[in-house]
Symmetry: C2
Subunit: 474 residues, 2 copies
């Protein structure tokens, strides 16, 4: 392998384009065919499941080790060329777009599970391991990794967007699941944060600073993750409600009573209609909760019975629950296919998907106001959500090529985001900021946004790490 030049001087007199050309030339020399510049590959690496315009990087490098990532970052740092980490490309807010060009580091080949410490309920993985791959790998240990955003995302990407999903109400989010990280910093150093102890008071919590930073402070290359024992028993089922308010109120009561529900998901009547079409469920088209309980045999029975009583109190039910794995799998596969089920309602449309999160006492009001807004706009827009956390998603089915329809949808997302913030919530519970939610950062964080900028400037003074994400230009 040729040595990398290390003097920073020769970058001085070049403009941006020349800098990118020089960096890509060095990377091509170093990584040969693993540094790709074909249009198709570049576009695929700017593409996400998003309504945002594709902004491809100038090159894609397939890294295989942390040291290689550090080499790539050093080259980019030297030429002040943007670095965009790429995992599975399943993010929803334009996180992998390259608005200023630059180099996409594809981490999908870094997909080794490095160690599993069953006795300590932890493991160490490379950033390109996906959540399903990890769960397959550890199945025989009796352990599982609970965080489940739906898509089979990479664990590095999930950490970077602070992902969560259906199990978060019981097991927390990536903020809770990550014990430690290996990071390549903006100047190409390799650092390790956190460790394998279950807790520590030894200094700043860098782990949680990098979790959710969307690659804007460094590239995550390895993760130490907390695992959980597979529950002895699982039960689950569906519970219809006459309206969204009564379903939300049942959720609130369930949480307030401390029922340790593992999943509690709301699908509104439009979403149920989509699921019936796409997943052939045959459910009544009314707001419905999908639930799952984890525990001992006696425990899950007790939880199911307690929930039945709560549902009845709010006019819902009957709660039909089953412990047979095949029934549960069918149900949760349908839940995870909600995106495609939404699309089945209007196959010619695109989906503009967004998420917000509010205090649970405001959930019913926030969903009601959003439904009212959907009706007023005449949108077809199913709602589905991790309502145990106060988090819900709206999928607006639109013709994205119609500028007026696109503009109206953007305005709708804006009203929804501000509504959630005004209720003491957040403009994104789990999708992240990326490009799509930047404009709400000032409203949500106020003066604290300047502290975020100070941290960004301290760790990435030249703004090479995934620029144009999270922090709006000031």
């Amino acid at each position: 392998m040729p040595e990398l030049a290390t003097t920073p001087d020769d970058a001085q007199d070049l403009d941006g384009k020349d800098n990118i050309a020089s960096a890509v030339a060095q990377l091509k020399e170093r990584f040969k065919e693993r540094c790709a510049t074909s249009k198709a590959l570049r576009e695929q690496h700017g593409h996400t499941t998003t309504w945002l315009r594709n902004q491809p990087p100038d090159a894609v490098v397939f890294a295989e080790t942390t040291e290689e990532v550090a080499d790539i970052v050093r080259v980019c740092a030297r030429f002040k060329v943007p670095v965009i980490p790429f995992g599975a490309g399943t993010s929803l807010e334009g996180h992998v777009n390259a608005p200023r060009g630059g180099v996409s580091i594809d981490l999908s080949r870094m997909n080794a599970v490095l160690e599993v410490n069953a006795a300590d309920l932890d493991c160490r993985v490379q950033a390109g391991v996906t959540r399903k791959q990890l769960n397959s790998y550890i199945r025989d240990t009796g352990l599982f990794f609970p965080i489940d955003p739906g898509a089979d995302a990479t664990l590095g990407g999930m950490a970077s967007t602070r992902a969560s999903g259906t199990n978060a109400v019981r097991y927390g989010t990536m903020k809770d699941a990550v014990l430690g990280l290996t990071i390549v910093t903006a100047d190409g150093r390799i650092i390790r944060t956190g460790g394998r102890a279950k807790k520590s008071s030894a200094g700043y919590d860098l782990t949680r600073l990098f979790v959710g930073a969307e690659g804007t402070l460094g590239v995550i290359t390895e993760l130490t993750l907390r695992l959980h024992g597979q529950p002895e028993a699982i039960s689950g089922g569906v519970c219809p409600f006459p309206d969204v308010a009564s379903a939300c109120n049942a959720v609130s009561t369930t949480i307030q009573m401390g029922l340790p529900v593992a999943r509690i998901e709301l699908l509104d009547e439009v979403q149920i209609r989509g699921c019936n079409i796409y997943s052939k469920l045959g459910l009544a088209e009314t707001p419905t909760l999908f639930l799952e309980f984890h525990g001992s045999e006696a425990g899950v029975r007790e939880q199911s019975e307690m929930f039945s009583a709560i549902a009845e109190e709010f006019g819902g039910g009957p709660f039909e629950w089953a412990t047979a794995p095949e029934d549960r799998t069918r149900l949760w596969t349908a839940r995870h296919d909600a995106y495609w089920a939404g699309k089945a309602l209007k196959p010619e449309a695109q989906i503009m998907v967004t998420d917000v999160c509010v205090p649970i006492s405001s959930l019913a009001d926030c969903v009601a106001a959003t439904h009212e807004d959907i009706r007023a706009e005449g949108f077809l827009a199913p709602i589905v959500g991790h309502v145990g956390d106060g988090n819900f998603h709206v999928q607006v089915l639109v013709n994205i090529d119609d500028p007026e329809e696109k503009r109206r949808t953007e305005k709708f997302v804006e009203r929804l985001s501000l509504r959630a913030i005004d209720m003491g919530g957040t403009c994104t519970g789990e999708h992240g900021v990326g490009q799509g939610k930047q404009k709400y950062m000032a409203r949500e964080h106020g003066e604290a946004l300047e502290v975020m900028r100070a941290v960004k400037h301290a760790l990435d003074p030249d703004n090479v790490m995934n620029p144009g994400k999270i922090l709006p230009q000031s």
Copy 2:
């Protein structure tokens, strides 16, 4: 009230002492008798439950609002005078000492519970509210705040040291309990981090950056905290073991099996002897686990029976458990008085207390090696710990005025800290770094320590916020 001068210029030509005098003069003018400079009060504000030398501040200001804290910080920033936040003074590693002099901000009068949102299981408090005060305040809501470091610390102080305690194995640490913060930054701005949503992916996790920062990045003045429902049923009890290894192995198995134990505490035979003297318990003087289970009536019975079986497997038992509140209270009061029980073993001695945390699979080895070290040194040093997290404390009973005994104890703490780090653990699980653990930061964090320094420099360029804590001088 007189206006505060805001031009930074007049601080330029003064040396450190003059700067402090000028700052204190301005604070006296602004805060009158609430700015105190008596020797006794200053010494009390440098004093902690610690073996470290008392280093009193130059003045103590009793703040009553966030705006007052901001005023104090602005005066100190202007004169580049250190600011040391003070809550209850229960920290163990010299966090409230003033090695470079400066102004101690006493937050104990900021002790209002500002709101309790029972439906959302959260509340907002001023930083000077203590954990016991909060729990008294919310008792009738059916909720409780679980984090329990033993001492009746202020919640601001607990957040600053990332405190935890006996319940952390079930309910997490302050990292998990804090939803949002109000912070006065080093330049006297007031920012709000986080919010009331149960989760968010909207930008950098500033909340967890300030939790555990020990006042070195800003002063916490208000906290939004997560509460939990009081469990329907609680059972608890004690379980003796023939040796520490078998007790540790029973703990490991309990955790691996996913038994949702609320407390699982190890007291070694020396600690039990102290508790028998101090709290008149009459327990067999052998390594013993104190346990507590939270859940439904059926759930806690099931958990207790499962634990009994595990204990028996490792040669422990009988596990004697009871659900009567008075029996449990007696037991946990004794556990919380472990510090004084240790002292009862050698009333003329001082206590040098330290804590480490290791992966649970290394717990038995780490305790065994530490016991061996204690024996070799001829120390009297009870061990007690939150072993469900792999966290344990050693209280060395020493004559701190004997330089040789002090030196030997310091060397012992050093060996213990490095042993924990070498096992993949941390030099402090819950006490924090303060002054006492700074020398282990480089060994534990490596290159990541430079990232911590960069964050510190970005948020506090003049090093006025609690200087001389966490980060060793480079």
